[in-house]
Symmetry: C2
Subunit: 472 residues, 2 copies
């Protein structure tokens, strides 16, 4: 790390973000255009996110598998909307083992096609259904304007692909996985997302319906943070995914897919970060607490370090992800700033006075300054740390929710809509007509994400909408 | 699954292997030449292996990260031996986003080059060392003759890449990771590997020294199951990985890399499998035990199922990876064969007589037939299952070790060597001269892997070798 300060978040949000990602050593630019390197601190954050998601996937009956990263180009042409959506973004392998390939291969931008091909082979009977498979990996989409974590050519994600006997069951899966994403975002990442259904023009290439979770960033913009798609029979027909039902009749499967990516790391940065740097929710933070010994002279060090080592052993044994910062070449003040910048939720300080009193000092990342500082007895320290981490986790969600709700405004006319979306979100009526969507986006292409935002199972009463907020 | 039987392992080992991989649904052929799909049962096996390795990597101070899958072609040319070794195997991306690329990109066959490039950027001072990073992912090598898990174009692995201040420390790391692999193979996979150092002609392209673990398969052939490489300053000089030492002098780093792949799944199949199918060590088995209810009439089912459900709850709560096979459309006998073929270590049967007596029947996969069957009280069942799984794990290692040792022969002359290596391993003296190696391989290219097999820290006393077993 270096001592130079970050740009101010309020003054230059974009530059604050870019520099913070580099300075906190979350990621770096790769020597391949548009690609990133996810550094150990960023990857550990992603591993913790993966654990939270993977547990939820398995609890809902899914299993993991691995499909090839290369896909024959012809596969994309089997589903018309899919090929139109993804062709411009493909990276193409033309040579292998020193020879030109007969058929070029695409590096996967998403895996519906190759997984559909395999499902057609594996699925014979209704007894084989549902097939509930997830894959962790990376995909590649040739992007021109890239930004670390938010939009890179190669990015890391999971993609779930499921096949079902009926449309109802596939729709149920689509909604279930949206719920799983929302549960993860809220509980693990402390991000209060809103679930919604994408407009016709914004849905996934080849989908009948796409749903997403959307989060409000610190600059009041929306970030799509996870998507879940219902394909109906579209891919089943393109790839011949059929099964014999109980009456021995051949039927098409109904399929879904759903994905959440390292973009979620970008969301965590932009929702919780501040001028001091990152603020990471304890549930996913690489280090939940940092332990900083405080001493000036060697005599003080001799007093402090045995207590610090004892505390370290106790907290690690309790399963707390603890970092002991015992560097001698930098001051405690430097360490405080450094770990604040890296977003560690809780700092635990132990100095000579603490040793004398049998206490430690807690400093919360979510409540800066004196208000976040308390002195705690060394007794039962592990359980006190765990309680504090839970309090921090909840408070981060509460803060993010309050910020979001303060920046969503009810809107009933087009003029107000135009004003609001420059600096916040608008709850507005929309008739669902693509013309209105195009018109609004022509003016506000950067700030407007048009979606029929509906909470699952309480659908938008479109027919009863009083008036579209667009001009007609 | 189907009811057709496997080829006999002793009569046609290769075909037995191919069919078993497909039949057990571990993997399938992909629609891309030389690539495989790892199906959920195979991938869960790999996930369990990953967990055992990842824990060991982290215990030895390593962290995970992610580097791009695409590498500029020019990177390969920076290390002369590396480019010669890997050029013939590269898959090349020539187009992206609809346009021809200025510089073609290779799909990574291994990541020394791109990671070396990043290390040069990240490492400045001795304080930044050592850098101990691992990456989980897949790589691509254009292979002509492929075999599921053993040799495919794309395969899954981990690759560790470390940078150190001194050659001694880097060598220590090289050996440490070989030890980690051996510990994993022996304890988790019940495979008694032998650690050794590869010959000059067999070492990794660009390495100063390559070490490997080698395992004896059921057909008495050797399978290289993990490698650890010492690069000295080779890659550091090629990529300018330098640091300022304590005296403010610029020094080159010393680097290592080490990898273990899904080939290890092939080893597990070929070491432990038999004519009935797979036999999986409990530590890594997707299902450690299968619970099979036995009943003929509905009245029996009504008796048996409540006990079965209670046992299921108890064993799952104890963390045992249990599969309840409650299919009604197949017979218990079919289920027995099916799960034996899939290698589940322990079968637990519960029938009406067991309900009356308060017992269950255990059937061990590692001891076929009556000898492996015992009746156990339902009391403290979870701990009895755990003990039995440990016994199975140990016995599988003991069996594999006995088989290996029975098929390693001491050899002192060339004629015997030639005879032995057709059906076993030979312990033979070798002077270390490449000419002798070439000569032996010309006759036995399929069966001879020449390595200076040495146990770490008790090096081969090459100078005291009585006589090379080759002709001179």
């Amino acid at each position: 790390m270096s001592k130079d300060t970050l740009p101010s978040r309020s003054e230059n949000f974009a530059e604050w973000y870019n520099q913070l990602v580099l300075k906190a050593e979350l990621a770096d630019y790769a020597p391949v255009r548009g690609c990133m390197v996810v550094r150990p601190y960023g990857w550990t954050l992603w591993e913790n996110m993966q654990a939270g998601l993977d547990r939820r996937f398995k609890e809902t009956g899914h299993v993991n598998a691995a499909f090839p990263m290369l896909i024959p180009l012809s596969f994309f042409e089997k589903e018309q909307e899919h090929v139109e959506g993804f062709s411009p973004e493909l990276a193409i392998v033309t040579h292998g083992g020193g020879e030109k390939l007969e058929e070029p291969l695409a590096v996967r931008p998403t895996s519906e096609t190759i997984i559909g091909h395999m499902y057609a082979k594996w699925i014979q009977s209704y007894r084989d259904l549902p097939v509930l498979i997830n894959q962790w990996g990376s995909v590649l989409r040739w992007e021109l304007r890239t930004k670390l974590f938010l939009r890179t050519a190669e990015f890391y994600w999971q993609e779930g692909h499921t096949a079902h006997a009926t449309a109802e069951e596939a729709l149920e899966e689509t909604y279930q996985m949206l719920d799983v994403y929302a549960d993860f975002a809220i509980k693990d990442a402390s991000i209060p997302v809103i679930k919604g259904i994408k407009s016709e023009t914004e849905k996934f290439a080849g989908a009948q319906m796409s749903a997403s979770i959307e989060a409000m960033m610190g600059d009041k913009r929306a970030l799509q943070s996870g998507t879940s798609h219902f394909f109906g029979e579209n891919f089943a027909k393109a790839f011949d995914i059929q099964y014999l039902d109980q009456n021995n009749t051949l039927q098409y499967c109904h399929t879904t897919s759903w994905g959440l990516s390292t973009r979620m790391i970008g969301a965590v940065i932009m929702v919780h970060g501040d001028d001091q740097g990152l603020a990471l929710p304890p549930e996913i933070a690489p280090f939940q607490a940092v332990l900083v010994p405080i001493y000036r002279k060697d005599t003080e060090k001799t007093l402090v370090m045995p207590v610090v080592d004892k505390i370290k052993t106790e907290l690690l044994a309790a399963g707390i992800r603890l970092k002991l910062d015992d560097r001698d070449e930098v001051t405690p003040g430097f360490k405080f700033n450094d770990w604040e910048m890296r977003g560690v939720p809780l700092r635990i300080e132990v100095g000579p006075k603490d040793v004398a009193k049998g206490t430690v000092a807690f400093a919360r990342r979510d409540i800066p300054g004196r208000d976040g500082k308390t002195f705690i007895s060394q007794e039962n320290l592990a359980s006190q740390v765990q309680e504090m981490l839970q309090a921090i986790q909840s408070n981060m969600l509460a803060k993010a929710t309050a910020f979001r709700d303060a920046n969503i405004h009810d809107v009933t006319d087009y003029a107000t809509l135009q004003e609001i979306v420059n600096d916040g979100w608008a709850y507005a009526w929309w008739c669902g007509d693509t013309n209105c969507e195009v018109q609004i986006k022509a003016v506000h292409s950067e700030s407007v994400a048009l979606a029929e935002y509906v909470l699952y199972r309480s659908p938008w009463p479109r027919s009863t909408a009083p008036q579209c907020s667009a001009t007609h």
